[in-house]
């Protein structure tokens, strides 16, 4: 799994950083945050489709991780451990939002921002306005389709297809069996295939 670590940072093993965090070293925790913040933010964004909410949820997840770092025993990788926290925080948030009936599909502010040629989500150069618009539309279709999945189904499909995590890693993160992960993947894929058939067949 890729991280943001620079070569110098990579020299410091994750386990050393975790041990320093457990001793109360906030600088070590900051290094771990630097390694994972973009990936974690991206993952949460793909779950909630709002930059502001993703930012807040990523902050909450890291704070929760800091508070419970002493309980990390190293049975799994730090990445899996923090992903478990991220998923708990995000799925809880989505469930509460569903209960309140606030589940919008995606926010308009992001849609407008995506058209901005300076945005990181579009190619840096040579993108024609039509292509930019087309990509924006495709992205909106995908986000709309993902928004129709349950939080658990969203989590498995994103961890498998975007994060390229193995079944056992997903199961560990979501604290469920590998069989459950496979079943959820089956239904999530079926639903997305139905919703996005015209998109992936015409590209």
């Amino acid at each position: 799994m890729q991280t943001e670590a620079t070569p110098a940072q990579a020299d410091v093993s994750e386990l050393d950083l975790v041990k320093r965090c457990q001793a109360g070293d906030t600088e070590a925790f900051n290094e771990l945050v630097t390694r994972y913040r973009t990936r974690i933010f991206g993952m949460i964004y793909n779950m909630v489709h709002s930059e502001q909410d993703a930012w807040d949820l990523a902050q909450d997840s890291f704070v929760k991780a800091w508070k419970s770092i002493k309980r990390f025993r190293g049975h799994s990788s730090f990445y899996t451990w923090i992903y478990r926290i991220v998923m708990n925080v995000t799925i809880d948030w989505l469930r509460k939002k569903q209960v309140k009936g606030e589940c919008g599909e995606f926010d308009d502010a992001i849609q407008l921002k995506e058209i901005d040629p300076a945005s990181k989500t579009v190619p840096k150069a040579d993108a024609l306005p039509y292509e930019t618009m087309k990509r924006s539309e495709i992205r909106a279709r995908i986000e709309n389709a993902i928004a129709q999945l349950s939080p658990e189904h969203r989590a498995v499909i994103l961890m498998k297809e975007i994060e390229e995590m193995q079944y056992h890693e997903i199961a560990e993160t979501l604290r469920c069996s590998i069989g459950t992960v496979m079943s959820r993947l089956f239904y999530a894929r079926k639903k997305l295939q139905n919703l996005l058939k015209d998109v992936y067949e015409n590209i």
Partner: protein
């Protein structure tokens, strides 16, 4: 024992091998359709990866700065606040004390009121109604007060500033 859905997923992701793979493929009623479905699933995966795979975090340094500040703020809180058990104990104890004190004050007040029946200190009026029902446009400065004198068993309607008497108050 895996379900069909689980085997199908494993087959799509290339996780079936050996006899399991042979058995599963043999159980498929239409192998060509299944292969087409597999290709579609791959296309879907590639589409997701390409289109939503890299949503960057703007202001990364600010993100970390905000997080450091939040952690520092939360770490600086008194241990009493962080310790849920102690906090709950104090709350319960304080509630008990407050409840007991309130009950004592209430009882003392009730006894005082019950025993204090000096009519001289009471108002000679039982009710005083101050809701004036006057049209503010017609009589902007009007006020109406109603008194009921207990001793005399009469009701007094006191009006001030009326331009005209409302129809509701006309004597019948």
């Amino acid at each position: 024992m895996r379900t069909f859905e689980q085997k199908w997923t494993a087959w799509l992701d290339g996780q079936l091998s050996g006899s399991e793979l042979t058995e599963f493929e043999a159980s498929l009623p239409d192998k060509a359709a299944a292969e087409a479905e597999k290709a579609n699933a791959k296309k879907l995966g590639a589409l997701l990866k390409r289109e939503i795979g890299a949503h960057g975090l703007a202001n990364e340094e600010f993100f970390s700065h905000q997080l450091r500040e939040r952690i520092a703020r939360e770490s600086a809180r008194p241990s009493r606040e962080r310790d849920g058990g102690v906090s709950t104990w104090w709350t319960i104890r304080r509630l008990l004390w407050t409840g007991t004190a309130s009950l004592a004050v209430f009882l003392a007040f009730a006894i005082f009121v019950m025993h204090d029946k000096n009519p001289a200190e009471q108002s000679q009026y039982l009710t005083q109604i101050l809701n004036a029902r006057v049209d503010p446009v017609v009589s902007p400065n009007a006020t109406i007060s109603m008194f009921e004198a207990k001793e005399d068993r009469v009701t007094v309607l006191w009006t001030e500033g009326l331009q005209s008497l409302p129809a509701d108050y006309a004597a019948k």
